[in-house]
Subunit: 432 residues, 2 copies
Amino acid sequence: MNTHIILLSGGSGKRLWPLSNNIRSKQFLSVLPCDSNGRESMLQRVYHQLRTEFPTEQVVIATGEAQKEQIEAQLGDQVAIVCEPDRRDTFPAIALSSTYIADICHGNPQDIVVVLPVDPYAEQHYFSVVRRMSAVAARPHVDLVLMGIHPTNPSSRFGYMVPKEHQEGFFTIERFVEKPQSEEARRLIEQGACWNGGVFAFRLGYLMEIVQSHIGEYSFPELLDRYASLGKKSFDYAVVEQAAKVAMVPYDGVWRDLGTWDALVQEMGSSGLGLQYLSQTEHTVVVNELTIPIVALGTKNIVVAASADGILVSDIALSGHVKPLVDPLTDSPRSIHYVWGRRTVVDRIMEESTLKSEVRIVEVSAQSVWEAHEEAGTCTQIVLLSGSGFLLTEGEELCIGAGYSTSLSRGKPLIIRSSTPMRFVETVVVKK
Amino acid sequence: MNTHIILLSGGSGKRLWPLSNNIRSKQFLSVLPCDSNGRESMLQRVYHQLRTEFPTEQVVIATGEAQKEQIEAQLGDQVAIVCEPDRRDTFPAIALSSTYIADICHGNPQDIVVVLPVDPYAEQHYFSVVRRMSAVAARPHVDLVLMGIHPTNPSSRFGYMVPKEHQEGFFTIERFVEKPQSEEARRLIEQGACWNGGVFAFRLGYLMEIVQSHIGEYSFPELLDRYASLGKKSFDYAVVEQAAKVAMVPYDGVWRDLGTWDALVQEMGSSGLGLQYLSQTEHTVVVNELTIPIVALGTKNIVVAASADGILVSDIALSGHVKPLVDPLTDSPRSIHYVWGRRTVVDRIMEESTLKSEVRIVEVSAQSVWEAHEEAGTCTQIVLLSGSGFLLTEGEELCIGAGYSTSLSRGKPLIIRSSTPMRFVETVVVKK
C-alpha cells in the first residue's frame, strides 16, 4: 500500500499587490526567511516540510497552466504537475489528479491519497498530523479523513466540524457547519468544534468510485480532453458532505494564511527585502523588487512594497484592504517568472487598451534556453546587455556576448542557450 | 536709465530627493499649482511674477552649465543666460553677469541692476518691493539696497539687519549680524531687525568699480576665460559688508524656501501629482513621476515621492532629514531634462562603479531636434516606439515612424527632427 500526495496550488489575486497579481500567486513570492539565510516561497517551504515527513512518496501538484512554469522554476522539473486545462473548482481538480495517480502512476485502489493546499503557513508538526491522517484512512471503517484545526477565534471564514466520539487517534464527526456567524462559532468552539483545514485523506478506490458515478470512467488523457466541459463542484459538496464514515484528526499549532500583507510581514522578520535605507522608522517593512532604492524616514507601522507593477504604501493593520483598491487596475502584469528566468516590462505604451509598444528586460538563468518569438503584427528587436551564450540557428551555433543585437523575423523563433546568466532588452513595437 | 535684472539660479542637491538630484535642482520641479489648472516650477513661477512687475526690462539668468538646458526648456530661448564656467560663489557670479550687462548689453553706469535668487516662494507684492528697491538705488546717496524680510521666528539660518533711520521709503542700516543664536535673534527682532533676503539693487557703475578693483578690467569674453581662476567669494563679504551707504526696503509677506518636502507639500495642495490611488489616508501627499501606480492605504502625515532614481516614503514632519540619508547614493541621476525633451534610464548595469550597460527611454517633444551620439567604446541601438519625424543624413531626410531601428556608428551623430512627440528606446552597451 502506497501513499500519494496531491498538493493543490491554485488561487491568484491581488491581496499581496504589487507582488502578487493575476499570474503570480502568493505561494510563489520568495519572501520567507529560511535556514540557508536566504528566502524561500510558501510553495518551497510547504514542499520541503512535506518532503521531510514524506521523503519518497509520490507528490502530484494540481494546478492551472498559468502556474506550471513557476512551479517548475521553484521546485525543479522532478515534480509531477497535473495541469487543469480550465478552472473547475476542487472536485474536478482532485478527480483529475486522482485519475492521474490511478491511470498514469498505476495506483492501487487500496493506496492512500492525501490532498493538501499549498498555502497554509504551519509548523512541521502539521505534516506529522498529515501522516497520521493517512494511517487513519487505511482503516477498514473509515472513508474520509479530515484535518481539524484548533480554532484561535470564532471566525466566520471557515467551516466547523463538531466531533462525536474519540476513537484511537481520531474523532468521528457529528456534523459540519459552514461559515457560521461568530455567535454560533463561539458556541461551536465550546462544543470542541474544529475548523476544516482543507486537508483530506482517503483510499484511491473510494474516490475513483465517486469520480465514476459523477463524471464517468475515463483514462487520464480522456478526462483531460473532457475537463473543460465538467461542471464546477467543490470537493466539500461532492465528497465530504456525502461521506458516511468521516474521521477527523486534530492539529493544534501554528496555522496561518499569509495571504495579506499584515499576515505576511509578521513572518518575514523585520529586515524586509531588496534595496532600501531606513531611518528613524518603527515597525516598517520594505519589500522592494525594483532596482532603484526605497528610502523610508520616520514611518511607523507601514509596509512598503514595490514591483514593476506598482508601489504600495500601507498602514500594516489596514493592508488587508488592498484588493478592492487595486482590482480596477487592469494592466497586465509587468513581471513574469518562467522556467528559464524572468521578463519585466520597463516601458509600455497603450492606446485605448491596445498595446502599442513594450520594452522588456529579459533575464535568462545560466544554462537555460530562451526562445524569442515574434508576435504577429509586431517588430521585435533584442540587444544582449550582459552574459554570454549561443544562438541556435539552422544547424549552427553562434557564440554571442554583450552588445549583440538582432531583430526577429516572422515565423522563425530565436533560440538562445545561455552559458552564464544573460540579460537582454527586448523591444516590441506593434505595426500600424 | 534702464533697469536690468539678474536672477541667480544656483544650487543643487538632494533635499527633495528623489525628484531633485545633482543635476535637477528644486527650482525646476513642476509641482506648484498654477492658474491654468496645471503645474509650474519654482523657476517658472518666479519668472512670471517678475515679468508681471518688470514686463520689458532685461533679465539675465546667472547659472551653471548643468542648468542651462533646463532653463531654456522651461522659459524658452528668449531669456538671456550667463553660464558660469565653474562654481565660484555669488560675487564672481554677479560680477560676470554685471560684466555681461555692461559689455554685451551696453549698460550705462547709471543703470540699475537688481539681483534676486530664483528660489523664494513669495507673493506678487514681493516684486513690487523689488521695484521700490530699484527706485531707491537710483538716489544719489545710496550705494546698495537690500530687501529686509520681516522675521516670523528667531531663526539662526539667516543674516539679520538692524535698521537705523527711516527715510522716505527705506531704512538706513545700523549693523549686520550673521546667523545669530536664537536668543540674540529674539533681541534683534525686538529691535526691529529684518532677515537679509538676498535681494540687492545697485547702480551698474558702482558694482563695476568694485569688480575692477577685485578682479580687474575685462571684457565679458575675457572674464569668462579667467573665470575658473577666480577666488571663491560671497557677495555679502565682497560688497555688502564694505558698502558705506546701504539702504533696506522691508517686505512683509509670504516668503518661504520650498527646499524640503515638508515645506513643498504645504504649497502643492492636497492633490499630489502623477498616477496614484489613495484610500483612508490623512494628510498624505503622493508625487509620482513613474508610469506605474502608487497606492496609499491608511497612511497619515506621509509624503511619498517616486522618480526613476528611487522612492521616498517619509513622515512629513521629518522629511527635512532626507539629505544625509541619500547623500551616500552616488548613482548618477536617471532622469534628465533637456531642451528637446527627457531621457530616463530604466535599466542600468554597473560593475565596480563602471557602467556596463544602460537602457534609456528618450522622449523628444514635437518639433524638436535630438542628436544621438555614440559614446566612445560603446555600441548603441535605438528603436522608435511611437511618434514620427525625420532622420537627417547627408543631404537627405528620411521619414521614420514607430518600429524604425538603427545602430549608431562611431563618429557620425544621428540627427532626428520630430514632427509629433517621439519616444525611443536607446540601448548602450559598453564594449569589453
